[in-house]
Symmetry: C2
Subunit: 202 residues, 2 copies
DNA sequence: TCAGCCATGTAATGGGTTACATGATTGA
DNA sequence: TCAATCATGTAACCCATTACATGGCTGA
């Protein structure tokens, strides 16, 4: 099945979407690698989270390609820093990427589901505890999103980020609902008649 | 914010969940790397998909740790192969991982949402086309899941995989609904009064 | 007064991907 | 008859993560 590649018939350097994430954030203004990291956390972090050090190397790469410029700032109390600014070429590259029809397929890596998949090999009680913990975490994330939603409401310049947030909200709500059902089902199974259960359509 | 690490105060080799995914699949019986790849596609592939070559290196690693054994099979018409079988130690390691409370946090990497986040930099029409395409794909995946659901229904040994599948179904349904709303909103905006829109609570 | 966070990054290492090989079989 | 798929894997490379550094500030 050999996953299709996405750096193919286009630019030879073939930037991946991580680079564009950072390039996109640079449209917010000139900033340091550290600033980019902070911005990532508050914006695209929930569906795209490069490690700090990768941010720095991506920034250098963007400079190398002419998509950003760098200028060094000496500081005394803080470590020196480099400020990056997107160039016209960079903006053009961003737009080109946005408009291109090929989108890299999403990647989901969810260790919890992996555990559940193999849960036949673990004690029932342990599983229940883990589902509860998962549920707790999902609810927590959901609350954070709802808070964000209130903040973004009616802010016109946030229109697209708001739509993205809606996707996150929908996802988390669906996972909370799901986890509740799973938990109920598992707890039901703990009591009494556990040998006659089956995946029947309710 | 420096992501917390998950190979910390435990076994020095510190296997990541990818290794356990493969170890878990080996509980289904002795098989080749190629077989593991096939199984991945049909089982955990939607929330965990290592590349082929990684499967091979993980298998070798598992052998090195004593969690699996390898035996070579000569073949004439096909390339030779190596068959891997989980060991008692491997089963124990798997169980230990399953029971441990720490779960690695999930990773979501969704380039489409990234594009949407920055969609202010692209033409409205292009965006609409891309949302449509995304919607189409989500529906396709959803149908595949629904098919799988029918196949797994009432199969008792599929109880946990069935629960996992439910998570996938819930997720995809939520994303289809979301995409439909987004599309409606965007199309509404194309016609007429586009300058007065805002993220108001409906 | 001391742990922890702010602020800024670099170095080392590993996880994971795409590209490369090979020969038989099957469907259009 | 020719491309696609099955069947099996290796080699090369890059993306990404965790660990390491450093010094001032801030809250308990």
């Amino acid at each position: 099945m050999d996953k299709i590649g996405f750096a193919r018939a286009s630019d030879p350097p073939g930037l991946a979407s991580t680079s564009f994430a950072i390039l996109g954030l640079l449209t917010f203004g000139e900033m340091s690698g550290y600033d980019v990291g902070k911005l990532v956390n508050r914006t695209v972090g929930h569906f795209f989270s490069p490690a700090k050090s990768q941010i720095y190397s991506e920034l250098r790469r963007l400079v190398g390609l002419g998509f950003a410029t760098e200028r060094k700032i000496q500081q005394e109390d803080r470590p020196n820093k480099r400020l990056y600014r997107i160039t016209g070429e960079g903006e053009q590259a961003l737009r080109q990427w946005l408009e291109s029809v090929d989108v890299e397929p999403p990647v989901y890596k969810i260790p919890f589901l992996l555990k559940l998949f193999f849960a036949a090999h673990m004690p029932h009680e342990t599983l229940i505890a883990q589902v509860k913990e998962e549920l707790r975490q999902s609810r927590e994330v959901l609350e954070g999103f709802e808070e964000l939603e209130r903040e973004m409401q009616d802010k016109d310049e946030m229109f697209f980020p708001y739509l993205v947030l809606q996707a996150g909200l929908a996802h988390n709500r669906s996972q909370v609902d799901w986890a509740e059902k799973v938990l109920a089902e598992l707890e039901h199974r703990s009591h009494g008649h556990d040998s006659s259960a089956s995946n029947r359509k309710d």
